[in-house]
């Protein structure tokens, strides 16, 4: 039996950011528990992109403020390694007039929030990515301060900074039971230890719904497999991430030289599958070769899958829970938990410590799903 002030379930990017932010604000005796190896979940399986081009105000602001943190993350967290942060933009292709018109609205919203995105015609887009197939798109949106960040290194940076502030971690330890004393959290049992804690944070990524069930709290999220592949590394060829919602692709060359590309599989079942399929490889190869023909020469060295934890409006849940005092949630990132992590940690630490949040957090609450209404659903998701 161990007493802790705060137990965080999940040592992915959200969990380590929450731990770090709480520790910076002075909380002592924080423990983070994870059932697998380092970044085994969604964080370590993501596409490593960070972008601000969204079509809901909440996602835009979360992304913008997170990028502002990433710009100084190495110094703030005193990380000795290389975070491989690069800001060479996201070039998002419109492939129809309808999509072009949606992008006009998106760019207006983003600009109103201080995000420096703009609409480009074909010629302008080709100046930025000359190897684009000119027949594959009609126009594009571009934000030069979007980019790339190494998920493993970013997670390690947060973890090392949290450790220096006294946070402890245990891996390969699985939460089996969450005990409550009426409406108040009491303790958490794992396969190795029982933790008595007044504050428990569910940052379990793909397994957030299950951790919620253990605590008797229903969280309306589900997980689905999204696949991705990596090519052999080559000399620098492409600066920005190239993306298309209608063509169902994101593709970027990381600083190491490899190209990472992913797409979603329509009709993917809602489960914890994270395996690789030949269907993905086939569709991904066709899409990539159509849009970026020169990439056809690159050899695929590896493919893998990871869970998107989907919320009903494709925006995160960063929230306390009304029915269980001391139980907090950061989940439902719908494929974008990595790029929002700085704000996830900041906002949830403010909620936990009952400080005035940096941003209004009502739109991120679990409560928002309890009152049936039309959500503003994020559409800009691959």
């Amino acid at each position: 039996m161990k007493n802790v002030n705060c137990l965080i379930i999940g040592a992915g990017i959200s969990g380590v950011s929450i731990a770090y932010n709480l520790a910076v604000k002075g909380m002592k005796n924080i423990h983070v528990v994870d059932k697998g190896y380092f970044t085994h979940g969604a964080t370590g399986r993501c596409g490593a992109g960070v972008r601000q081009q969204w079509n809901t105000e909440t996602n835009c602001i979360l992304a913008k403020k997170s990028i502002e943190f990433f710009e100084h993350a190495k110094e703030i967290l005193q990380y000795p390694g290389n975070l491989e942060f690069k800001q060479e933009g996201y070039l998002i292709l419109a492939t129809s007039t309808q999509e072009h018109e949606q992008f006009i609205k998106n760019v207006q919203l983003q600009n109103s929030l201080g995000i420096p995105s703009s609409l480009l015609n074909k010629e302008e887009a080709l100046k930025i990515v000359p190897h684009l197939n000119t027949d594959a798109f009609v126009s594009a949106a571009f934000c030069p301060t979007d980019g790339h960040l190494n998920p493993f290194k970013m997670t390690e940076a947060y973890m090392l900074a949290a450790k220096r502030l006294g946070v402890t971690f245990s891996f390969f330890e699985e939460v089996l039971k969450i005990n409550r004393d009426g409406q108040v959290i009491d303790s958490v049992e794992t396969d190795k230890e029982t933790y008595v804690a007044q504050i428990v944070v569910n940052a379990a990524g793909g397994y957030a719904a299950e951790i919620g069930e253990l605590a008797g709290v229903h969280i309306p999220v589900y997980s689905e497999n999204h696949e991705i592949l990596a090519t052999e590394p080559v000399e620098k060829l492409q600066g920005p991430m190239v993306m298309s919602f209608s063509k169902n692709i994101y593709c970027q060359q990381v600083p190491h030289g490899a190209f990472l590309m992913g797409r979603s599989n329509p009709g993917q079942p809602h489960d914890h599958d994270i395996e690789s399929s030949w269907q993905f490889l086939d569709e991904m190869a066709k899409t990539a070769v159509e849009i970026l023909p020169i990439l056809g020469k690159l050899r695929v060295v590896r493919q893998w899958g990871g869970s998107y934890n989907m919320s009903p409006d494709r925006q995160p849940i960063i929230s306390a829970t009304d029915e269980l005092q001391g139980f907090y949630i950061a989940c439902g990132f719908s494929g974008h938990g990595f790029m929002f992590a700085p704000m996830t940690g900041l906002l949830l630490s403010e909620i936990i410590l009952k400080e005035t949040p940096t941003l209004p957090v009502e739109g991120l609450s679990l409560e928002r799903f309890k009152h049936p209404r039309d959500f503003t659903v994020e559409q800009s998701v691959v």
Binding site: S276, K286, A288, V289, L298, V300, V301, R302, Q303
Partner: protein
Amino acid sequence: MNKNDIIICRCEDVTLQQIHDYLDQGHTNFEDLKRLLRVGMGPCQANTCGHLIQKEIANYLNIKVEDVPVHKVRPMILGVPLRSIAEGNDEEC
């Protein structure tokens, strides 16, 4: 021999010293080392470094090498150009 001069992962130029530095930080499984050092992420997909690192982990933890979990094997077995995949399928249609 200096551990900085011993290359364990030849695809990604990772040295024995780098492996030991992370073992000392508690990353005593292949999956952690892969994510932090890129061992096994290159063209050979751990076919070379996999068993070498397994031995280093066994020595470090003073356990039998067969008790060290092997790394997750992912497709592809060999690198295949994207165009071959894309066009190979067209011929079947």
